[in-house]
């Protein structure tokens, strides 16, 4: 056996590296069944969770996405119309805010998502696939270089956030009794 057992932090870093890419396997781990087991257990627990979440998202029916998109576009169109109106008349700013604070159309997406139960049933059948590491990375250009530009956008977002802090996405939709 080569060297000591991995420390707990080393085990964690094997499964959840804090840097990009994978670090080379320590010689000790390569030959020590006990340390291999410790790493495998943690990895398995994580993949179980990640795989289950992926399963939920993948089992959402196309109708869910369509309904969600329609709900968004409904709100956006309403906003666009109100913004156009506001340009023409100076004062009904409050109307715009009222559109922002009500994702009432979430109901639409959820109705479509009811079929999701069927998807979940498939999952319950024991397909405990670990998540395929789906390559969602989109930024081909140096992202770090973008952070300066981002800060301007950040300012803007902060302003939007401030405008929204007092608003609940839920309360305007649901009757009090629920």
């Amino acid at each position: 056996m080569s060297g000591r057992h991995l420390t707990e932090d080393e085990v964690v870093n094997r499964v959840f590296p804090a840097q990009d890419g994978t670090a080379p396997i320590p010689i000790h781990q390569a030959v020590c069944p006990e340390c291999q087991e410790r790493v495998a257990r943690l990895r398995e627990a994580f993949l179980l969770d990640r795989g289950a979440l992926t399963g939920v998202v993948e089992s959402l029916p196309p109708e869910f996405w369509t309904a969600q998109r329609k709900a968004v576009m409904g709100r956006v169109s309403e906003l666009a119309a109100l913004e156009a109106e506001e340009k023409a008349t100076p004062f009904p700013t409050r109307l715009t805010r009222s559109v922002l604070q009500r994702p009432a159309l979430a109901f639409g997406s959820l109705a479509a998502a009811l079929t999701l139960v069927a998807g979940l049933t498939v999952l319950r059948g024991g397909d405990d696939r670990p998540a395929e590491p789906e390559q969602t990375v989109a930024v081909a250009e140096g992202t770090a270089a973008l952070s300066a530009a981002d800060s301007a956008d950040d300012e803007l977002l902060r302003a939007v956030d401030v405008a929204l802090t007092t608003e609940s996405p839920y309360e305007t939709v649901l009757p009090e009794a629920m």
């Binding site: 939920v56 998109r69 666009a80």
Partner: protein, 207 residues
């Protein structure tokens, strides 16, 4: 106009596509909602997935995903377009989740919503909890592990949780995460290390 937009589930933009996104963004800035729909189509799954992983409730994730795009629409007129649109959307999403957590609004369960719709929601799982049910023992263990992971992630600060999820559930690079969260690479790495350690501690007694 709508028919020249990429279809649903279009892949993430590569450099050429990013040029095309710039054109579309100009149209969005001009108030064209059809052009904006392209972005909703392209990114709604990714945004939902990120938000869902953070909040673990489909109804909340749906509402928040919608909010993300509505906020993006409002802000896009001034979006510089020098950062990737997706990075920017991620930032809106993380902020939206953080703010929702701060407000701590009571969550309306899936079943309640279905009841309100008159669709027999009582039979729906109150929280959408997928499990591995090959054997009762495995199912119980799966549930236990996933509950622990969820608790461990919930115990992190919103920022730390977002960083951890983006790295390990979404396979983002450290630089992308830094750009989306607004911190430097070193800070991302240090959050990642601490979050992972806390997670392991939570799972320790499961052996």
């Amino acid at each position: 106009m709508a028919n020249d937009l990429p279809g649903e589930g279009a892949p993430a933009p590569e450099p050429g596509i990013r040029e095309r996104e710039k054109e579309l963004l100009d149209r969005v800035r001009g108030g064209e909602t059809d052009a904006f729909e392209h972005f909703v189509k392209t990114y709604q799954r990714k945004v939902f997935r990120l938000v869902y992983t953070l909040v673990r409730n489909a109804a909340d994730a749906d509402a928040l995903t919608q909010d993300v795009f509505v906020k993006a629409w409002r802000a896009v007129a001034d979006f510089k377009g020098e950062a990737a649109f997706e990075t920017w959307l991620n930032r809106i999403a993380v902020n939206a989740v953080r703010d929702a957590a701060r407000r701590r609004r009571p969550v309306v369960s899936f079943a309640e919503l279905a009841d309100a719709e008159g669709t027999g929601g009582a039979e729906l799982p109150p929280s959408m909890e997928p499990v591995d049910a090959t054997t009762p023992e495995r199912e119980a263990r799966s549930r236990q592990i996933r509950r622990r992971i969820r608790e461990a992630l919930d115990a992190l600060s919103p920022r730390q949780k977002a960083i951890f999820v983006m790295k390990h559930y979404e396979d983002r690079t450290v630089a992308e995460i830094g750009a989306a969260i607004g911190v430097d690479d070193g800070t991302v790495k240090s959050h990642l290390f601490r979050a992972a350690r806390k997670l392991r501690q939570k799972l320790e007694d499961l052996r």
